[in-house]
Each structure stands twice: as structure tokens, then as C-alpha cells.
Amino acid sequence: MNKLSASAKVYLIIVFIVLYAPIFYLIFYSFNSGGSMNHFESFTLEHYQAVFEDSRLLVILINTVIVALLSALISTIIGTLGAIGIVTVKDSKMRNTLLSLNNVLIVSPDVIIGASFLILFTIAGIKLGFTSVLLAHVAFSVPIVVLMVLPKLLEMNTSLIDAALDLGATKKDIMMRVILPYIQPGIFAGFFLALTYSLDDFAVTFFVTGNGFSTLSVEIYSMARAGISLTVNAISGLVFFVTVLVVIGYYFVTSRATKRTEGQQ
């Protein structure tokens, strides 16, 4: 029963091949000296060189990273404070309302988030560009951080806080030396998820970006609409490389963090 049959193995292998084929197909042709994704002529790094020589593309890349880091940082702060706040709400009706409102942006389709934020920013008189994109990314990242931090807070034993109080700790001490270290893995996970959502987002950004400011996703969309350009392939090669690095980094950080909390207990 626990052994996989040969046909099951073949099925899994096919699924894996189909999942990875398009990605490797892109990366493979990023080394093609020909101009298309059809015939492989010879190996070249010229498309990677083109990415690094295109100053416009580099600006977009830097924009994307800055928006991701800033929005992840801000949303981690708001989300962590929010989660701490939610835990203290004793009224269960109120708490459930907060949690439902928290999940609205997680289940909403991107198109609706994008369109409604476009109306919001226009009415509020916020110029479409860096600010609007940053605000939008903070907005949709906050609930993710809350969902990552909340379970850590709920599993925390309240007697830890009572003990700290008995030992004469101030409010600040409790926050900095009891609560925050305990929920740290949740905060890290929230930050990383916010980061990846921001880097990945296309639909919401597309609505609130306006002219003149662009992120990588939006830029790839306009390049793809114009037709095949092997520069996009080179970008995908770089993105895949960075993604794998982030995945490895994320697992390294979280496994170390969990080990540390386990060690404390």
C-alpha cells in the first residue's frame, strides 16, 4: 500500500516535467544567439549582457526590489502590531469581525483590488506612480503578515507575560524581550511572504502604476505583448536563480529560528 506503483511514478514524473518544462525552456533559449525561441543556433551570453546594459531595465529592477523591501518592511510592522492588537481583543464577535476584514484582501481577485485601489488613489489625490504602488503593496501584504504572526501569538503561554510582570518587567521589556522574540519566526515568515508577493504581483500593480513608473512584472507584460524578445528569457533566467536563492535562504532562516525556539523550551 505504501509503495508507489510504476504507473504512479510515471504520472508524477510527467507532472514534474510539465511543471518545469516551460521554465527550463525559457532559460535554455536565453542562451540562444538566434533571435527566437524556435531554433537554437549557438551559446551566447549576449541577452544577459543586454539586461545589464539596458539602464531603463535596471532602473525598473531596482524599483521592483525597493518597492518589495519597503512594502514588506512596512506591512510587517503594521501586521505584527495588528496581530498583537487582535489577540488582546476579548470580545469574540469583534475579534471575528476583525479577522474576516483581515481576509478580504486575501480572497479578493487581484482585478478588484487593483480597480478599487485605482479609484481610492484617484479620489485621495495620490499621484499614480511609486507612492501608489508602494501603498497598494503594503495594503495587500498586511493581512498575510497578520496570518503568519497570529498563530505564534495564540500558542504563546500567557503565564510567560505574568512571570515577566512578577519579575518587575516594564511594558516595553515585555514587548521587546518576551513577546517579540517568541513570535519572531512568524514575523520572519510574514516578511518573506510579503516580499515574494510584492515581487510577484502583476495585476494590482498594473492598475495603480500610471505612466512613468514600472515594476518588472508590468514591464514583462508589455514586452510579451510586443512579441518574443530573448531579453525576457534572460530576465527569467535571473529571476529563477534569485527565486531558488530566496527559497534556500528562507528555509535556512526559518529552520534556524524554529531550532532556536525549540532550544529555549
Binding site: H39, A224, F240
Partner: protein
């Protein structure tokens, strides 16, 4: 816990809820009642019930249904076999990694793969068939969408299967049930929650896709999402766009009620 400090911790979060959760929904509802000149009207709602928009809604649902169906068809066995592998968490991670690669890039890859001179046509030609234009067809649109959604469907089903107590399966076998009966009467009902949340995270985004329709279906397929994007960014008719958005939100709520809300769901773009 100290209530005072904690209440002030809640302050920025409450501001976020007010400005980015409540206000946007209220604004969409408000704008759905405005015409092009900013006058109050119910014309947008009337327009939605004309054949143009009704047809679009029905076809949007049909495509979303097909996409969800095929995604489920492929994902369930995959999740099932995955739980039987030796290093299942590692294999699961390998399934999830492609979902972290930018959606645009994966879609872009299919422009090359399905193209007239792409690998699939080259493969067909080996067997003596003429190359066909596969891009801009319904099948390519559904294929790419299913490809995008597979990891999001596998994850909840895998978790449900993983939680399943294996002794129940042994018991069913001992009592003489065939493999198929065991699956139908024991495994499937007990993993229904996973299937439901899988359907939820695929069906709602499938209704609102707009980027894949543009790049792969070449504007042939109009989903509710495409229509909203069109009204907001191309025709600049925010009123009508908001009306479609209101209906999309209503459909979303209905789908969530049907599929249950025990699981938190996820984001797919």
C-alpha cells in the same frame, strides 16, 4: 496583557482596515451607481442584464469551470501519489517552487511553446501533421490556466490527504472494500475539505483572469476580469467596470459560502 499599549498597537492596523478594506469596497459600490458624467443612475445594472454581459458572465463561468475541473483532475492523483513518496515534504516543495516563479514569465514561455514554430508543432510535424496555430485558441488558454493553478490545487488536497488517518483505510480494506470503494466512501469524503478549498482558490481567480486571456487567448476569451480591466483602463468607464466588479464580488461570496470557509485560502495571480 496591558490593554492600553495593545490598543495603541491596533491603531495603524485599524487605519489599514478603514482605508484599504472598507473604503475600496464602498467606493466600488458607489462608482457602480455613476454614469460616465458622474450622475447617479441604475443604468449600469440595467446594462449588466443585457445579453452582451450575461453571455460574457456565462462564458466566464464556463471557462472557470473547465479550468477548475481539469486542475482538480490532474491535481488529486498527484497529491495522492505525493503523500506516498518517501521524502514527501521535499517533493511537495518541488511542486510549489514553480508557483513562485513570476506568473508573467511562465505565461510568456507558452507564447514560444505554442507558437507556429514552437516545439509542440515541431513534434507534431514529426508524425507528418501540418503545423497549426495553437496560440489564441480556447485549448491553449485552458491549458496555460490549468498549468498555472495546479500547485495551488495540490497544496490543500495534499494537506487533507496527509492528515488522513491511515488506519481508516486499513479498516475499510479489512472489511472487504475494494480499492475503488475505499476511495469513494472513505478517502474522498474525508479529504473533501481540501478539495473544496482547492476549488475555491482556483475558481475565483479563474473568473477574474485577464492577463492570460490577453497574452494566450488573444482577446478571444473575455472573462469578468478582462471586462473589468477593459472598462477601467481602456474605455475609462469606471461606472460599468465597478458594476461588473460588484457582481464578481457577489459571485465570490456565493462560491465561498458553497465551498465553506474553514480554510483560509490563498492568493493566485
Amino acid at each position: 496583557m496591558q490593554t492600553k499599549t495593545s490598543k495603541s498597537a491596533l491603531f495603524p492596523y485599524m487605519l489599514w482596515i478603514l482605508f484599504f478594506v472598507i473604503a475600496p469596497i464602498a467606493l466600488v459600490v458607489y462608482y457602480s451607481l455613476l454614469d460616465l458624467h458622474g450622475n447617479f443612475t441604475l443604468d449600469n445594472y440595467k446594462a449588466f442584464f443585457t445579453s452582451v454581459y450575461l453571455k460574457m458572465t456565462v462564458s466566464s463561468f464556463w471557462y472557470a469551470f473547465l479550468i477548475t475541473f481539469f486542475t482538480l483532475l490532474i491535481s488529486y492523483p498527484t497529491a495522492y501519489f505525493l503523500t506516498k513518496t518517501k521524502h514527501k515534504q521535499l517533493w511537495l516543495l518541488l511542486i510549489i517552487i514553480p508557483s513562485w516563479i513570476n506568473l508573467l514569465l511562465k505565461t510568456y514561455a507558452f507564447i514560444g511553446i505554442f507558437g507556429l514554430y514552437g516545439p509542440i508543432n515541431a513534434f507534431i510535424e514529426v508524425f507528418g501533421f501540418d503545423p497549426k496555430q495553437m496560440l489564441f485558441t480556447d485549448i491553449s488558454f485552458i491549458f496555460v490556466s490549468v498549468y498555472i493553478f495546479i500547485p495551488f490545487m495540490i497544496l490543500p488536497i495534499f494537506n487533507a490527504l496527509d492528515r488522513l488517518n491511515p488506519t481508516l483505510i486499513y479498516a475499510s480494506r479489512d472489511l472487504g472494500a475494494s480499492a475503488f470503494t475505499t476511495f469513494r466512501r472513505v478517502i474522498l469524503p474525508l479529504t473533501m475539505d481540501g478539495v473544496k478549498s482547492g476549488i475555491q482558490v482556483v475558481f475565483i481567480p479563474a473568473l477574474s483572469l485577464f492577463m492570460i486571456t490577453r497574452l494566450i487567448a488573444g482577446n478571444r476569451v473575455i472573462t469578468l476580469g478582462t471586462a473589468i480591466e477593459q472598462q477601467f483602463l481602456v474605455t475609462q468607464n469606471w461606472g460599468m467596470g465597478s458594476t461588473i466588479a460588484v457582481f464578481l464580488i457577489l459571485f465570490m461570496v456565493v462560491i465561498m459560502l458553497i465551498t465553506g470557509q474553514k480554510n483560509k485560502g490563498g492568493r493566485v495571480r
